[in-house]
Symmetry: C2
Subunit: 315 residues, 2 copies
């Protein structure tokens, strides 16, 4: 494998020629400011947008490049993410540039012609319900079941909707037995019912000080009660890639994954066949990258996202 | 494999000579009467103790046989199970004859010299807490955490007890994110912390009309957030067998597993090296047993547990 190259005005030029889509991986260590939901470490430092990020994104767009912000976080819809970006000063980011695992779940159903007369039961946040609705599907459950209790009583039947054709499971901070029983009954008893996971991340930085159970926790709970494995639509599944390839009419070799973590962002990009650019403004230092024990080598690396603009502007 | 023999006064005599311990598998389809917690179908029919069961157990004891009631249900302690048996008219059943997965969890810690100054965090029912206490361990969590909420707030730290050396997970009808975060932090952050599952049954008949998520649901949730596999102490783990062999100074070939289900009770008994006796008073019919597609063959089968007494008394 070729050693990673420091991004320069020369190789940036060839990168620009060889790719038409930049994927920004937005999962990682959350900053206090964004807690609990946003994970934009490669774009921010502390509470502040990294200088030049907004202009860099504008530059990419002006050069005709597609810009996509990718996150496994399913708690929000793309609309809510765009608002979050706006509150950061990134008002140029539109819903169409955001690919969240909540959106991925809805798109999986759409791409696979999920019948509109079937319903979707959701274990997870409002973001999934909203994305399903926008895609024309009828989702229920989610936050409305947060306080519901399942009763173990003789002769009582836990009723579930027989028209549920898919259960979507994502991160759910209000997971409870009612939701698990509802989802379990649908998957076990409704013929052909799909079991879809937004993602299976074991933990995430829901607060700035420590890790908390991620969607992998709720998804595995459902695996345990259904003896089924889910269809995963978020990373590291390549559903997103396949979807974007269709949307942009491109190929993965013409995509560049930009991220700050070797074992997730860069590895995922490489496995999908993308070019990869590591930014050192997050969890990975140049020392980490270059140490002998590391065998995940991005194609390129640079200090921060805004270097792209600086290098473009340099003579 | 030899075909199963119908229990007769002749082969019962040889069974009696070859075994010294009878294990009664008490998991299965619950009867309405016992809902939600007891699962004694091989001893009861509808709401009534099967005629002769009590006398049969007395007969076994009087012949010097050990009698053990085995259940994967961890919600209750042995004391609570004995009370349940008493309410059925089986007043002769003592705590010492009951082997529940709640007890198994406590015994696993005891046998493995779990330090008394370490604590145990429990995701599950009161039965586990009680068995831990009886065994001299300090357990906490369980029902006392049913209503607790985990808060995702900036700069807030979810505190957990660093002296927790084991997390025991069983069936928990009040599973929530707080408990999962507590258990996850202990397993991930306390060095050497054990992760023990009472059992991994996917579902169980918590009510008479349908199946509900079993302990496997909560255990898998913890697997999902910790990336760890648990130590399982209930069936089909053979921890129980190993424990009983020590206790009774016997060997598995001198044990007979009595149950009504081929794919769990009988298979488990066979895998452990026990003799096996299928009773037809539960879910398996003689037709099921003898059909060609079935390849799980017990050593013996009979209509009901009380046949043992009848055959002993027949000339």
């Amino acid at each position: 494998m070729a050693p990673p190259q420091i991004l320069s005005s020369t190789n940036l030029k060839s990168l620009f020629e060889s790719v038409d889509t930049f994927l920004f991986d937005c999962d990682g260590i959350v900053s206090g400011f964004f807690s609990p939901l946003s994970q934009f470490e490669i774009l921010v430092m502390g509470d502040t947008l990294i200088h030049g990020v907004s202009q860099t994104l504008d530059l990419l767009r002006s050069k005709g490049k597609n810009v996509v912000f990718v996150t496994n976080n399913s708690m929000k819809s793309r609309r809510q993410y765009a608002e979050k970006f706006g509150s950061l000063g990134l008002t140029s980011v539109t819903q169409n540039e955001i690919f969240s695992s909540s959106f991925a779940a809805a798109m999986y159903l759409k791409v696979n012609n999920f019948p509109k007369d079937k319903k979707v039961y959701v274990i997870g946040g409002e973001g999934i319900i909203e994305e399903l609705k926008i895609a024309g599907f009828s989702g229920f459950g989610g936050p409305e079941d947060d306080e519901k209790k399942a009763q173990w009583k003789s002769n009582s039947l836990f009723e579930h909707d027989k028209s549920v054709g898919a259960v979507v499971v994502g991160l759910d901070p209000n997971i409870n037995y009612y939701k698990l029983q509802y989802g379990t009954l649908c998957v076990r008893e409704n013929p052909g019912c799909l079991f879809i996971a937004t993602n299976r991340d074991a933990v995430g930085h829901m607060t700035d000080l420590q890790e908390w159970p991620g969607a992998g926790c709720m998804v595995s709970a459902m695996c345990g009660s259904t003896d089924r494995e889910p269809i995963v639509v978020g990373k590291p599944s390549t559903f997103m890639m396949d979807f974007l390839l269709q949307k942009f009419g491109t190929e993965t070799s013409r995509m560049c994954m930009v991220g700050d973590r070797l074992d997730t962002d860069i590895l995922f990009g490489q496995n999908a066949g993308c070019k990869t650019l590591l930014v050192l403004s997050g969890v990975t230092s140049e020392e980490n990258l270059l140490e002998e024990s590391n065998n995940i080598k991005p194609d390129y690396y640079t200090s921060m996202v805004s270097d792209i603009m600086k290098l473009m502007e340099s003579p």
